[in-house]
Structures are given as C-alpha cells and as structure tokens.
Amino acid sequence: MIGTRIRERRVLSGIRQSDLARQAGISPSYLNLIEHNRRRIGGKTLLKLAEVLDVEPTLLSEGAEATLISDLREAAGEQDDIGAELSRTEEFAGRFPGWARLLADLYRRNEGLERTIETLTDRLAHDPYLADSLHEVISSVTAIRSTASILVETEALEPEWQNRFHRNINEDSARLTEGAQSLVRYLEGAPNTDAEIKSPQDEMHAFLAAHGFHFPELERDMAGPRDVTRLVEGAGADLSMPAQSLARDVLLRYLADARTLPLDPFLGWIESVGPRPDRLADLSGVDLATLFRRLAAMPQDKVGPVGLVICDASGSLVFRKPLDGFAMPRIAGACTLWPLFQVLAQPQIPLRMRLKQVGRGAETVEALAVSAPVSAPGFDRPALMQAHMLLMPDSPDAESAPLREVGVNCRICSLADCIARREPSIISEGF
C-alpha cells in the first residue's frame, strides 16, 4: 500500500511525521491518514512527498511496485534452486526498495546480456564470409600438416615426390597466410572506420563507389573487355583476387549494358522524359532490369541520386549502390518486406512503391522492382533469377504509389509486430 511505503521510507529516513507534513505542505493529520492508507494520494502531493523523502515517485506508487514485484518473481523463478522466499516478495520490495530494484535491474541486465551473446554467436555462426574464410584456413592447415608429416615420416622419399610436396607446402602456406590475414582484417575492422574493407564483395563495392559507379572508359564506342581488364588491374592492391573476379563480372555487364543503351542517346531520352524507367522502356524497347542498371551507372549530375540493389534467388545481395536515407545490409538478411524480394515470386511483373525505413536518418524513397532470369533454363537446371530494385528520392510523381514501412534487417529493426520478423531486434532489447 502506498501509505505504508511512505511511512516506512519516513521512518527509515528518521523524519518525524510533523516535519514531513510541513515540508510537503500538508497537515500532520492528513499525512497521518495517508500513512494509514485511509486517504488516496497522487499527483503533486505524491511528488512532493517523494521529493522530501528523496526517492523516485515511482518507488512509492503502486505501478512501480507491481512491476518490481513481478520482476523479482521472474528472477526468483529463473533461479528456483536457490530457494528465494517467494511468499515474502512484496514485503522485501516494500521494506528494501533500493535493494529490490538493484536485484531486479541486475536480473534484467543479465537477461539482456544473454540475448546479446546469443545474437553475436548467431552472427558468427552464420556469417558466410567468416565461414568461408575459416574453411579456407582449415583446409590449408590440413594440407600442410598432412604433407609435412609425409616429408618427415617417409624414409627414402623419391626426389620427385619430395619436390612435389615441398611445392605443395609452399603453395598452402601462402594460401594460409592470405587467409589468416584476411580473417584478421575482417575481425579487426570496426564498423564505420576506414578499415572496414572486408569481404571480396565489400572490396568490389568500394572499387565501384570510388568510381562513382560510372566508368567513362566503358562508355566509348570502341570499348571492349580489354578496357575491363585494364580497369580491374588498375585497382592494384585495392582488389584481392576474388574481388577482381567479382569486379570483372560487374564491369562486363556494364559494358554490355552500355552497348545496349549508349550514353549520349540515353542521356537524351532522360532529358526528354526524366529518369522514369517505364517511359524509357517505351522509348528504347529495352527491358527494365537493364534500364535500372543503366540509370544507376549514370553520373549523378545528369540524373540525380539513384540507388540500386540486386539480389539472386537466395536473397543474397550481389550488387549495392546506396541511396542516402535508405540503408542496406552487406550481403544477406535484408528486410523481407522490400519489394525486391516480392518480385522474385512474380518474374517480369514490376512493382512500384514508396518505402520508409524505421529508425533515425531514414527518408521516404521511391522503389521500382522487377525480377528476370539471367540465364537460360535447361532440362537439368533452373533459370537463374535476379531481382533489381531501383531507388530514387521521393517525388510528387511517386505520390500515387503505396507507402510501405520496412526495415534494414531484423537485428537492427524496431518495427513492432512485424509479420516478417525472423529474429528479435537488438535495438528494442536495449543492446
């Protein structure tokens, strides 16, 4: 009862009833009635009494007490082998509110930390780049160990075998070094720092971003695959071998797109109808996916800011050109509510909507999505599908499109009651 708690706090503080009443601006007889639970109090009187007693008003109020007692019971339930006196929980919370709050807070904090550990463990266990790198390192170690044992343990090993095994160890140790260094770079690279270059996909995207996603060398009439090779090799140490391979594939597709939609006529069409893929498709007769890629490859001063994200049928993001105000995860785990994934189930049927990501810094953007096969099907294999989602700043033209609230990925999304949620958010859990 609130009156009982006021009385207990007063006695604990060594304040006389008449002094407390005076300091709180009420009569001693009224305080006496309050302390014996014969008058309800709240509002200013409660705040004033709490101030004089130097406690949080919630400690005196019923709701805080109920929450505290519920937290204490939950904590006791988790550790029922300790034998906490559950029947005396209310008495404990009432007589020792500070200790009780501390215990409850520690219990909640412990619970939060356990969830954080689960989240981080899950992240490590399912990080595809980490898994691949570790596999590479273990494979190299296995080959070195096995080969070294043969060299040490085999008597009279023929020179030909000896040379072969020496060569193998040399190769594997180089592979091991590269794998270990890559792992260290990956694990040490903190988010939002210059040391963030991590997976080959990250390197490839950093390379594209450094060029503004536009390559004048590939826009020339005579441009060919040799220009792609020159560009990739020109990146030097910025691109590892796997990243070079990824960059080469992206640039070869850029080259093909540039041949389909040469720069000058394309910019002319954009000037006449704006960066509208549907109108550009009517003018050019070119499919939407190619138009999306081409728009994303134009210099920003010609078409304004344009973002693009491409995923394969597994949902892995294979290409990301960011747009301010719309965040994207690095490889996988993006919000399922993005139309990018919706169009995978409806090839060649485009979708247009406005998207707003929950959280700070997000802006409403216009999203156009379409999916299409990127390889021909065969009797022994399905056609490989890719979905494209073009992102542009919100505009009056887009107002008729439906607005959808989406996230980046579940871990950092606070969207409540989301039907697409795969895992709890670390934001809402107070990570």
């Binding site: 296995t142 080959a143 160990r145 044992s149 343990e153 085999t154």
Partner: protein, 122 residues
C-alpha cells in the same frame, strides 16, 4: 592389387597427401573432386571404402552420404567423413545420414590410415 578407396575431396593438395599415404599402405586410391557428379563416381568405382569431404562444390558431403545410404547396391559401403566443421550439430547430421566414422580437419595421417584399415576390416 589392394582394396579400393574412393577419395572425394576438392582440395588438390589434401588429395595428393592422402592418396600418397594410402597408396604407400597398399590401397588402390581413386579420387573425385566435386560433389555434383560424385554419385556417378561412386557407382563407377564401386569402392571398398569412401573418404568423403563434407563441403564439396556442387553438392554437400551430407547429401552424398544420404544418397549412398539410400542406394541398395552401395548402402553398406563404409564412409569416412572428413570435415572442417567440428560442431556437434554437424557430427549429429553426419551420424543421422549414416556415417561410419567422422574425422575433423586438420587430421593426422596416422589417424586416417588407422580409420581406413579399421573400417574396411570390420
């Protein structure tokens, strides 16, 4: 000619090392480097024992093992699975699929040799 071992593994230098130690021990070693058509290789070679990597390009070792155990003609062939994944759930998955023995990488040559001898002579 010794008994036949089929080594299905995609790392060339592991293939070379394991093939060497088994050949020196008198086994006839055949190798195959991908998961995609591994079952064809198993049927073609009809080995006395299969050494199977868990992570192969094209098809996982776990899927191949399941297919072997589901094939009446091959179902009893001992399978030694080599894997870089030492997690309990992977071991359990291999056991559910019917693995004869599960060995995590990096392994010692002596252990591989001992396992091969034991599995074939069971």
């Amino acid at each position: 000619m010794g008994k036949k071992v089929l080594l299905i593994e995609d790392e060339p230098n592991i293939i070379e090392a394991v093939s060497f130690i088994l050949s020196r021990d008198g086994w006839e070693v055949k190798t195959h480097a991908n998961g995609h058509d591994a079952m064809e290789a198993v049927r073609l070679r009809a080995p006395d024992l299969i050494i199977l990597d868990a992570m192969l390009p094209g098809k996982s070792g776990f899927d191949i093992l399941t297919e072997i155990r589901g094939d009446a003609a091959l179902g009893d062939t001992p399978v030694l699975m080599l894997t870089a994944r030492g997690q309990t759930k992977d071991r359990e998955m291999a056991e559910r699929a019917g693995v004869s023995q599960y060995m995590t990488k990096p392994f010692s040559n002596a252990d591989v040799l001992a396992a091969v001898r034991a599995l074939v002579n069971q």
